[in-house]
């Protein structure tokens, strides 16, 4: 590529702006010698510089100064590092929620059982009742504690109705035998 005969094309111009070292050596040497190509490159670079300059110029400035930001950051960091104190509201909320749950649980009516559970409970209650009735009947038979029949000589089990009727016959029995 002779410097006076050829000039860099559009693609080479863009590569030159991106990174001149990526151009072939011959093109690089042409670019360093050719004022026309150098001017093209300079114009594109200038345009891009203007773009950056305008963006900078037309962007607003932050209202707060860097020093203010620094103090705000410090305050925020300190606020975050307050440790347990910063957790107070969280703990208080958890406590209130827990209190409400326990309160509701204590005051709520018992949960209804299923039919199987009800049947089982009824059977259990009936068994307990039956046992209780047997105890009552036993007391009807002999309300005294076991020690009393022993003392009075009534602990002998053979004294059933037939024996007593033999010893002291009932009036009906006597009439029949006569």
């Amino acid at each position: 590529m002779k410097s006076n005969n050829f000039h860099i094309d559009e693609d080479q111009l863009i590569i030159a702006v991106v990174d001149q070292d990526d151009l072939p050596v011959a093109v690089q040497s042409h670019l360093s010698e050719c004022p026309e190509c150098l001017e093209k490159k300079r114009q594109l670079e200038q345009e891009l510089e203007t773009l950056g300059h305008m963006a900078r110029e037309f962007a607003p400035l932050p209202r707060a100064k860097a020093g203010h930001i620094m103090s705000r950051i410090r305050a925020a960091v300190q606020g975050k590092n307050k440790g347990f104190r910063s957790w107070h509201p969280v703990f208080a909320t958890c406590f209130v929620v827990l209190f409400l749950i326990v309160g509701m649980w204590m005051t709520s009516p018992p949960i209804k059982d299923s039919s199987e559970q009800i049947t089982a409970r009824l059977i259990n209650e009936m068994e307990e009742d039956q046992y209780f009735i047997l105890e009552i009947k036993a007391l009807e038979e002999n309300a005294l504690p076991e020690i009393y029949p022993y003392i009075s000589g009534e602990s002998y089990n053979c004294y059933d109705d037939e024996f007593i009727n033999y010893v002291v016959p009932m009036e009906e029995t006597l009439n029949n035998s006569v």
Partner: protein, 195 residues
């Protein structure tokens, strides 16, 4: 340039050791750059101020984990870009629930020369043309173009910021520049300004 980079690296080292002066100096140096960088992308002064504060808070939080202080600038821009992405994510979620259009303050006169009508019109026209052009670019090309020519980052810094290799960055830049050359409106605006 190298001296400046060395100075920043030294400040970063001190800031990592919780040196308050160095931390303040770092904020001083980068505050406006980061604010502008955010503003170019979200077009709202108020949101840009809030985000800038969050970015610096994140910077102080993550600073002890920075292994190479020499890469501080690209690292800071990476934080800023992530914050901007988060902002857009949140915004899209909010927009999903709230269909009423939120007024953006892009058109509000919030620069120092807002009382000058000519400047106001020029500013409005510039941003209109700028966004009209950048909106036509794919995401990668747009980001690389803006970082290179508006935020003035080098190829290496852009590669570090976007976690891409140099050749990918150059390819994006090449494509974006090719499209830039074919945008007459922005061209004429810039040529008019350059004259």
């Amino acid at each position: 340039m190298a001296a400046c980079a060395n100075k920043i690296a030294a400040l970063v080292e001190k800031a990592k050791a919780n040196d308050k002066d160095s931390q303040e100096q770092l904020v001083d140096i980068f505050y406006q750059d980061i604010f502008r960088m955010v503003y170019y992308r979200i077009n709202s002064r108020m949101d840009a101020e809030d985000l800038t504060q969050e970015i610096f808070m994140q910077m102080f939080k993550s600073l002890p984990g920075l292994k190479e202080p020499a890469r501080f600038r690209s690292w800071l821009f990476m934080i800023a870009l992530n914050r901007v992405r988060d902002f857009y994510r949140k915004k899209s979620v909010m927009a999903f629930f709230d269909k009423t259009k939120q007024p953006e303050d892009a058109d509000l006169p919030d620069t120092e020369d807002s009382d000058n009508p000519v400047s106001y019109v020029m500013r409005k026209e510039f941003w209109k043309q700028f966004h009209a052009f950048t909106d036509t670019l794919p995401k990668g090309e747009r980001e690389v173009f803006t970082l290179r020519f508006v935020d003035h980052l080098g190829i290496r810094e852009i590669a570090e910021t976007l976690k891409k290799n140099d050749s990918t960055v150059k390819t994006h830049l090449y494509r974006a520049l090719k499209k830039f050359r074919q945008t007459p409106e922005l061209h004429s605006l810039l040529e008019g300004e350059a004259l």
